[in-house]
Subunit: 338 residues, 2 copies
């Protein structure tokens, strides 16, 4: 019998906790496209397991067939979303795991593939712990923190990236309060981050995205921390739409703006953010909320899923390797290299 | 038979065009609280007519009774919303209209009250035309404009304030494109402004509020123009939550940030924005969209309806008297005085 992958359909949260169990790589690919599985690190893990599902039926087939199916599943998964580096990183790592061996037996190759996916998953868990620990050093006692989108356990294989920092600071007994941007259009902040904040009993409040500036000023926010989908060699960072806005606000109010992400999010092949492909999603994601039309028939919407924050607005980038400061061309190259 | 007021319930737009007809001042007060009637200038007009409804039953009563009912209706209407200056301005003007006469006859006082409400309405229409004309001078050919909330015919007695400027520029044959912030929590941008843009066939697209920064950068927005709910003597401006955010973005990207409003929005009694009362609305407006819960049970939300934009971020303030530049303490005093 085939192995299966079981995942939480995040589009149903917070109203419903529905799990999907599948042995089909296509279901994983579609879940990534539909954002049932989302968050850059989790996309990488999901793609790795998706690839395992894609080849498991061929573990007794001739090795050529196995490799051909591997390629097809990989291409299918690669096409799901363009921005998050972790997707491509995970798929390339899976590929390397079998390319770097002289083994020509499907069953043994399948074992390698399976182990590699499990490693990616386990390493992500450890990565979150390390990001959390490094990042928590930057969170002062009595911090008022603002975050965006969802970067917690739902988005990763562990406690999260930016959320992992928040989580670790809270675990250390620091008295913190978190404002979460709701993060339109798909409300990952209200649906997912508030769910994780509540589950971890971290004092918090939800705000609409356009309340961020006023909240920073009135509530004396002193740290903004978010995740990342791809970081160029110079530090320019693609992350959920609205991140660039927040970085400008941090700069205007003289507070630090931190990115927290695994080093696998760093893409040294791109010299700046100008080269990062930005996914534009369906206008309907803006024109409808929970299936209900909120704008008149026939109007247009501009719906980029991400934006690019220029490196000069980023105070530091936290990875599992440590805290990286400008000049990022130097610090990120080092972080990627170790 | 009593006179009636007929108004469009704006909370039902764009899905339903439902009109409410009433002869009851309380219905008007409740409609203002519930945002069925909204937009600072329209709130002023609605309050004036509400006052007419409040006293019409007493036009044959003894003058003391008439004046007592006038006061009670006025107090009821004053308590509806705290931020928009136009509400208080209109009610004070209504009161002055009967206080400044020696007439002691209810029926004649009622005529005065009725005429004053009609004047406030008619003047608002003329105000919009003038704001539109002055403001359109600031809109270049091929302008890419960003606006927030709703400031059009729905929010005023005429073509609108910030929207009046957009409307006039389009009427003048200028080739413009408008990005409208959806304006969470109550989506006045998507529901109302997109409806007005569509009805006026002005090329446009809707964006989520957090897409503003990226849109300004990517789509080369060159003007931001919004309305106002109250303007302090120094130019600090209260307007729909998210306005302060946009003003920071305009400043960061080196583009002008304009406020368009009637001079009745100026409150010379307040030296700065620190003194403007900011309405905080129910957390449920953030936690629910179209009646559907979007965040987990039991979480908190911070829901200010307005924010204050400091005067140094405002390029100019457009009223029916002209275009007012800094120092606003001088230019606004002049605008209020004429």
């Amino acid at each position: 019998m085939d192995g299966t992958v079981r995942f939480l359909d995040q589009t149903r949260l917070p109203n419903e906790e529905m799990y999907v169990e599948t042995s089909d790589c296509t279901v994983i690919a579609e879940a990534i496209i539909a954002l049932q599985l989302r968050g850059a690190p989790l996309i990488g893990i999901a793609a790795a397991y998706g690839l395992v599902l894609g080849v498991q039926r061929y573990k007794h087939a001739p090795v050529e067939k196995f490799l051909q199916e591997f390629e097809e599943s990989k291409l299918l998964l690669m096409k799901t979303r363009p921005t998050a580096k972790n997707l491509f990183w995970a798929l390339e790592r899976m590929e390397k795991s079998i390319r770097l061996t002289s083994i020509k037996d499907s069953s043994m190759l399948f074992d390698i593939v399976q182990r590699e996916a499990a490693s990616i998953h386990a390493e992500d868990r450890a990565m979150c712990d390390a990001v959390g620990k490094f990042g928590a050093e930057l969170i002062p006692q009595n911090a008022i923190i603002l975050t965006h989108c969802n970067t917690g356990a739902l988005a990763t294989g562990g406690i999260g990236t930016a959320f992992g920092v928040i989580h670790t600071a809270a675990q250390q007994g620091k008295n913190i309060f978190v404002y979460a941007d709701e993060t339109r259009p798909l409300l990952q902040g209200s649906r997912l981050t508030m769910w994780e904040l509540k589950n971890n009993t971290i004092p918090s409040a939800l705000i609409t995205d356009n309340t961020a500036a006023w909240t920073i000023k009135q509530k004396k926010v002193n740290v903004i921390i978010v995740g990342a989908d791809r970081i160029a060699a110079n530090g320019d960072t693609a992350n959920k739409i609205g991140t660039y806005n927040l970085a400008i606000l941090a700069n205007e109010h003289g507070i630090p703006f931190y990115i927290a992400a695994p080093s696998s999010t760093i893409d040294l092949s791109l010299s700046s953010g100008d080269e990062i492909p930005i996914e534009e999603r369906s206008a309907d994601e803006v024109l409808f909320i929970s299936g209900k039309r909120i704008a008149p028939d026939g109007v247009s919407a501009f719906s980029p899923a991400f934006d690019i924050t220029p490196q000069q607005l980023i105070t530091a980038i936290i990875t599992e390797k440590g805290i990286h400061y400008p000049p990022y061309t130097v610090s990120l190259t080092k972080a990627s290299g170790i």
